[in-house]
Amino acid sequence: MAFDATPQSDDDLMSEFARGNQAAARSLTTRLAPGVLRLARRMLGNQAEAEDVAQEAMLRLWKVAPDWQPGRAQVSTWLYRVTSNLCTDRLRKKRTTNLDDIPEPLDDAPSVTARMQARDRAQAMNAAIATLPDRQREALQLRHFEDLSNIEIAVIMDTSVEAIESLLGRAKRSLADKLLNQRETLGLD
């Protein structure tokens, strides 16, 4: 999740931020906001909504900074959890208000098999991930895109490590079933 070369820890940057240090604000933004946005985008499947949620999550971080207790929790873990909850709320609200807004699962076979380049493979992968259930998608994003441990993911998703392992196992099995029967056309062999 680190995008800058600042050697300071997130805790240190939070303290600096609370003291009014603008450089700390910039470091925290460049370090944390991209990952928050990626998670929100993966969970919501919509860029504009993901940016709204990511901005809201970061705003909550700024507000909690003066009361932040170093060492009590990891800043990134806390932030991912806030983002996850905000996304879950949005998804629940959307499903309650209008079931017709839910996109149909993508038909993986024809469009995916037609592409051979790396960018197309990435799109095929993203499309396949989009068809996964919410919790599997979230766990997969945190594990394979944000590079978090299963323990951290369990904290963020408020469940056990075993449950995370199960979610990841199901998710990868599902992706393999969707994608790997077209190894040749995807250029994986």
């Binding site: 910039r26 933004t29 906001a33 946005l37 700024w62 990435a122 799109q123 895109f145 199960s166 994608l179």
Partner: protein, 133 residues
């Protein structure tokens, strides 16, 4: 016992390659988005406006006034202060109509004697020798 089939090493390798592709082509956050986040950060850092010295003094005076009991309390204190000042400046004889503090003491003693003379005998002329006859 998990109810899904575990991936083979070949499947894992193939999926890992697809994850790599997906990560490599992840869309970075836009400049506008990062600017909005930074704007929020800087707004959150702005300290609330500090009241100027005059306003702080006025607030303290109002607080003190309230602690003294408002207008009635402050009036009583002001009256007592004025009386004390006048007494100190002019002297008690001018204020109470006495020539000196000894007069004040004598007057007080006379009043006290009169109060203690319950049978009003102070004006009777009495010769103790008459009792012996």
């Amino acid at each position: 016992m998990p109810d899904f089939d575990k991936l083979t090493p070949q499947e894992t390798q193939a999926l890992d390659a697809l994850f790599d592709d997906a990560r490599a082509h992840d869309q970075p956050p836009s400049r506008q988005f990062l600017d909005r986040v930074m704007d929020d950060a800087l707004a959150a850092q702005t300290p609330p406006a500090q009241p100027d010295a005059t306003r702080r003094l006025r607030d303290r005076i109002f607080d003190l006034f309230a602690q003294l009991g408002g207008l009635p309390g402050a009036s009583l204190i002001a009256a007592c202060a004025l009386f004390g000042l006048t007494m100190g400046y002019a002297g008690p004889d001018q204020i109470l109509g006495l020539s000196s503090l000894s007069d004040l003491s004598a007057a007080a003693q006379t009043d006290l004697d009169a109060e203690l003379d319950m049978f009003q005998t102070s004006d009777l002329s009495f010769d103790e020798s008459e009792l012996l006859q």
